[in-house]
Amino acid sequence: MNWLLLFEQILNGIQLGLLLFLLAAGLTLIFGIMDLVNLAHGSLYMMGAYFAYSFAGWTDSFVIGVLLALPATLLLGIVVEVVALRTLYDRNHLDQVLATFGLILFFNELVRIIWGPAGLDLPLPDFLNTSVEILPGIPYPTYRLAVIAVGLLVALFLYLLVARTRIGMLIRAGASNREMVGALGVDIKLLYTIVFGLGAALAGLAGMMAAPILTVEVGMGERILIDTFVVIVIGGIGSIRGAFLAALIIGLIDTVGRSILPDLLNLMLPQAAASTAAPALSSMLTYVLMALVLAIRPAGLFPPRGA
């Protein structure tokens, strides 16, 4: 085993995990507090990437583009909540799934009409488009390090927000017992809108972070949506702490699995069989993990109290 390689793969895994966390944090809050299954969360991720693309294009600066795209996604989230989703809170989960699936189709087509069907590239500024030698002989892309830094900062921010502020208290209360919070005279509508906007902004931020690595394109949200759901279910719905841990676990398992499984299988199987079984097996790992977790702990790793 090459330890330097393993170290690099762990970094890659953490980077993917933190990206998933940005998405999962919002989704788990929306799910836990409003009891809303929002499939369109991936669309907000996509919109974030497209906003960043356009703003960065107009201002000629990646950083300013992201800073402008962030409030834009927040605003979009609030609009979506007020116009479309508010009426869905008292519906059952299936109705919500169907309606938000409709939203996905709508957003995808809208993007196709506004920005065109071809994939777009969000170029990086020079200072991020390099690599740093994190260990002797191991250069690592600066931008991926930046993603890790942003992810950790957001995690810290969310921790402080939820644990130390009044609104965080309401969020925690809402996750454990929604009716009680309403009964205590809290403006539950406003709370919902704020939480949804926050979740949308985080999803949009994930989209902006992913855009320079991937391509800004229609349907990019659906690809990552299922992984995000896996994360929040493993973590326990409504739990930010659970989402954080689960996201890192999924990111690591996916990346490290992809990296070392072929070598492991090579030891056990003939080369041809190993090289075809490896991609299938490594894609399966996250689902195996989720099934195991749920079989042992049917409500995830950190089920919110009272739920």
Binding site: F31, V37, A84, T87, L88, R91, H93, L94, D95, V97, L98, A99, F101, G102, L103, I104, L105, F106, N108, E109, L110, R112, I113, I226, F229, V230, V233, I237, A272, A273, T276, A277, P279, A280, L281, S283, M284, Y287, V288, M290, A291, L294, A295, P298, A299, G300
Partner: protein
């Protein structure tokens, strides 16, 4: 006795479906036999899903996996029959028996684990198993892996029928669909069905009055899995092709949408839902390339204004159960 709108509609739809092959060949449009055969087969899967989703409250988000199990049994048997000359594997009875056994075992295994969870966790754990089976299919290198497997002949049932004939396949699918409707109807109106529906509405109370709901729900899950497996078997024969894509999570999602669109927990809803969904899917793209712009909001409107799906448009249900 006066017939309700619903009864008239059901009779007309069933009659109409029975007449598709002769009309299609009359106007020289064999394609419609193909399209409607697909509808019938998908409706079998939808009826199966409705049995546990609509009546049992179990939202399986991995049901397409059973389509895949049935499809791959047919595909793999025919592959060996064709490539290695294994005569017995070309026998339709053997293939069907293998489909039923395989899908029952898979359903028993998945159901036994998944039914320990509830609500959204159940949705996600069934998704997990569905995706695992999907990736198993991707890893089946000799059966084409990601690319899938073409069937070079179809299942033959010596002495009874041969699915190579398009019209035969159509009526076999039609008969199977009717049989599944009948099974569903008998099941949900039996004591078994009462327990199942009771468990959906209030599991704790059912347990309190002495019904161990878990085995009932598990049996329903297995029956549903087997029905879907048979649908997969027919689907492989109908398209001459199996691939992992038939068990992708989006296909499971399609099935759920079909059931909700048609009216979950109603006998004929899944049939209506399938017809509507597949017709739209066939017609809309030929009208405009950006058909999803209309399809999406349409789904939202159905949820907001047609609660209970298409079935609810046919008037109130004769015997509401919730």
């Amino acid at each position: 006795m006066t017939l309700s709108v619903r009864s008239v509609t059901v009779i007309l739809v069933l009659l109409g479906l029975a007449l598709v092959p002769p009309i299609a060949s009359w106007v020289d449009q064999g394609y419609y036999t193909v399209l409607f055969a697909r509808m019938l087969i998908m409706s079998i899967a939808a009826i199966a899903l409705n049995l546990i989703l609509g009546f049992g409250g179990m939202v399986s988000f991995g049901h397409a996996a059973f389509l895949g199990v049935g499809g791959y049994v047919a595909g793999i048997f025919i592959f060996h029959y064709f490539e290695d000359g294994a005569e017995w594997m070309g026998n339709g009875y053997v293939q069907l028996a293998a489909t039923i056994v395989a899908s029952a075992l898979v359903a028993l295994f998945i159901g036994a684990i998944c039914l320990r969870t509830r609500g959204v966790y159940f949705i996600m754990i069934t998704l997990a198993f569905g995706q695992m089976l999907f990736f198993v299919a991707v890893g089946l290198e000799i059966y084409g892996g990601d690319d899938g497997l073409s069937l070079y002949t179809r299942s033959e049932f010596p002495g009874l029928f041969d699915l190579n004939d398009r019209t035969t396949l159509y009526y076999v699918s039609y008969g199977t669909m009717l049989a599944c409707l009948l099974v569903s109807w008998r099941l949900i109106n039996s004591r078994f069905g009462m327990v199942l529906r009771g468990a959906r509405l209030n599991d704790r109370r059912m347990k309190a009055i002495g019904f161990p709901t878990y085995p009932y729900r598990l049996v329903a899950f297995v029956i549903s899995g087997v029905m879907t497996g048979i649908a997969g078997f027919l689907l492989a024969n109908q398209t001459d092709f199996v691939s992992p894509s038939m068990m992708h999570w989006t296909k499971s999602g399609d099935l759920i949408i079909i059931v909700v669109l048609g009216g979950m927990g109603t006998l004929f809803g899944p049939l209506f839902g399938t017809i509507a969904y597949l017709l739209l899917e066939d017609i809309l793209p030929s009208i405009t390339e950006s058909w999803q712009l209309f399809f999406g909001p349409m789904l939202i409107l159905v949820v907001l204004f047609a609660r209970g799906g298409i079935d609810s448009l046919l008037g109130p249900r004769s015997r509401p159960d919730d």
